[in-house]
Symmetry: D2
Subunit: 284 residues, 4 copies
């Protein structure tokens, strides 16, 4: 009895009450034949998702960085709070956001978003993961309603995925992105680290644009690109390389350099640019 | 050996390395004769605090809300990351920030910042807590270098404390502040809750200004006041009451209503306004 | 010859050249039977308006303040530059913006947006002006694509017009708005000034909400309302009154109080909030 | 009589009245022996400049672009309104701002900020102009209180001046700056245009850093540098070149790429970053 009163008071005093059903952040998983194991992922479902069973939504794939996982964007970047805030203010449309896990936790593992050795993550992503989530949740499964974004290693992954699959994504937003390995870097003594780095180099977003012929460039122009990197970020150099190649190839892109380093405050603030940008990009 | 290599790589790849000594967030405590027990608190020390033993700093007391504690501003509001970010960009001076605990966790307790019954928190704060931290850390202990701020119940506490002690604080920043209990509110059936609410009403910041004579008003004008409340916040009404009284009393104040409700995204973003404002207010 | 070279160089060096046809700001006029005379107005046409003769656009009516006219928003508020900037960045949809003239230039005249004595401006606006411009330019002439906004006296006009005609407007944005005459104001010795003030009082937006019955309130809820006023603005008080009445009547509104006074820097910056907000409000 | 009433009403209704003395923007001039003629300039004096004859101020030299003159920053960039706004809000210190004229109005003239042929503007600036204004107005005439900034050609001028005179300036802020002529540019058929371009190339800010020895680099590190350029600006490329050279030379700089092209909306918004940054840089 006393408790129920307290709960009532808590509700009145501490929270702006809303009659609407809440958004949710779930942890889910699927079994991967490619990777021979279960892969976890998180998914953000907008409010009223359960109540309105007829409605489908655009989707954003939001990729974590090195030492992150599928929960990282929420636990460190508080993406659910930002999504709720921007949806409440009308600055973004309701969307589903999917957070994969690329098993990049040093020292336990150092895998990432690309195929190499026996880690065929890119195959997993396009052959298993994307079809799985788009079948399991009410997602509008076409280019006009699908975007990809990420931070650091995940920013490189997002950009490379959209480069290779411009038919799948309407937009790609790269934050502080590892779009290439800076030239002249000393090799590591650790073979696994070198292998991961090699996979980034082989999938260099910079080289991809440089080597693109006219037909590929034309396809790349069907994606809205966004590059966002802090002026104190150690990855700024490779991002400038990428922007230059995009300019040379006459592929339009949005580009921002804001105050900051390779830190969560940067990525958290980036969400306030990224999410409205992607929301405007989605087809009606 | 392998681990040390990995640590090296992690350091190179994931973090913008800085040669400077880092800031820190500590948990500390003191014994209170007034409250008959140990009271915990957190304290943020700027970078180089340990290295530069001759330097003293301005201080900000940053107060939590209902259901919060001394760790709340960091765990939910990530205040350390914001402080580090703004200090790195030069937008704020280095300062010490102190986070008291007002034991306001419903349903365990519902105490707060004011004296009532056997909870003499205000006595504790001014007679024991403030002298303790200002003796223990290298704080410039004068009005020109001391500010106070808080959210919700802590915003009301910060404002009331600065009203009663304009000789101690150069500035007070109130976020989504419980500066009064809205009139016409139904009493609770819980005596403790009613007692806490009564303590807020008795310390109403609105009434304090309304009842202030010319001399008190003149003293209140020596403090820089800032009121910041979301347009979807259930406490907006009492904040508008407070602003009106301040206008009537011709006491200058800064006032902002921004997009948002009674949520952490609001208070996190408020730090980007609050901290530079206070930093500019501190004496050189 | 030399001149043409110079012009070429100017074009290359000083301007980011665009192949797209430019937007334009025109001055036009109509004869009013109601007001017995020609009334000038300005109109902003988005780029490609001339080239794409099949396309129709949403419309915004943007109202000037006291001592302004139809050119004021452009000459002082540089609204064309802001519209071009936001359209280029994708933050707003292409829209037509119409700038009426309410003949409010003291001391030449002091008319304004309401009917009084022989100045039947409100009749003119709805019976003559709106049908004229919506027939003359390719405007989507329905509630879902029509918004109204204004500053100071024009903010009051915009709000009052949308209150009386919620069937016409999807949104109303009031900047530093004269939504009422503050109570207790001394009457002027000038009969004309008093008459104008009386017209504002008679059309008080505050009283309109206070007196609205359930049916009217329900109609008012079909409009998206936005109130934006500086914390140093002498009209903040009446804006707070308006917000309170809207809260009491449970009519949702967006509300912002930002840093600033009754100055053009405020209204210029308000455009960066107002235009994206209205753009999101327009029906697809 | 009626008029005085109207003026009173105007003052009450349309303007937030302040008892403080206003800031002012003056046009002044000096005779130059170097350039053999009178050179005009504008100067912004903060409020209370006349009233408080004992106070001296930091100074900012703010340089116009091609086709601009000493009035351009105010007529197009409304710098006085921005200065007043930021001073009122406390975000900047009171400062004197000086606007030189580099006679760069095509087709009348195409001179600019550097010495070439018989146009010895740089000599004029340092030997005549700077001593003149710092003797004529109450300026704190030392490095710690002197900054320089500019847009486009003036951004290149500001950067080059601070490079050659790091002993004079504490900070330099370059907006959309012509810090170099992009390589591979076709020569103009107009000899005067080519001469002006050559003067920019000879004073290339990019080459200056590239060629700087350790001693020069060390001096350059005593200046706070800021580069701000729009992502749609045709000069972004040379700005990226400059940033790269600064990184290579390990000279710290602030760097921002924001949304926008080579337009006044960009430079106007840049003032809100530039002026607080410089204000924080000035010595106390």
């Amino acid at each position: 009895m006393k408790r129920s009163v307290l709960v009532f008071i808590f509700a009145c005093m501490a929270i702006a009450v809303s009659a609407q059903k809440k958004s949710s952040m779930l942890t889910d998983s699927l079994y991967s034949d490619v990777l021979k194991g279960h892969r976890p992922y998180n998914v953000y479902l907008p409010k009223n998702y359960q109540e309105n069973q007829d409605k489908s939504y655009p989707v954003l794939y939001l990729l974590h960085g090195l030492n992150g996982d599928h929960e990282n964007w929420n636990s460190r970047g508080r993406v659910k709070e930002v999504l709720d805030y921007l949806a409440a203010s009308g600055e973004i449309r309701e969307m589903i956001v999917v957070f994969p896990d690329a098993d990049a936790d040093i020292p336990k593992a150092k895998h990432g978003y690309f195929n190499y050795q026996d880690w065929k993550y890119e195959d997993f992503f396009f052959q298993e993961f994307l079809p799985h989530v788009e079948g399991r949740y009410r997602i509008i499964a076409d280019k006009g309603h699908r975007a990809i974004a990420g931070l650091s290693m995940g920013g490189g992954g997002a950009t490379a995925y959209a480069q290779k699959h411009p038919e799948l994504f309407c937009a790609a937003y790269a934050m502080s992105a590892l779009v290439d390995i800076a030239p002249g870097r000393e090799p590591s003594k650790d073979a696994l680290v070198n292998a991961m780095r090699e996979s980034v180099k082989e999938n260099s977003c910079v080289a991809y644009v440089r080597n693109a012929d006219d037909q590929v460039r034309q396809q790349l122009r069907t994606v809205k690109w966004f590059v966002d990197c802090g002026d104190d970020d150690h990855l700024l150099g490779v991002n400038l390389d990428f922007v230059r190649e995009m300019h040379s190839a006459r592929i339009p892109l949005e580009f921002r350099v804001r105050e900051g380093a390779h830190v969560w405050e940067y990525w958290h603030s980036a969400l306030y640019i990224c999410l409205p940008f992607l929301s405007r990009t989605f087809d009606r």
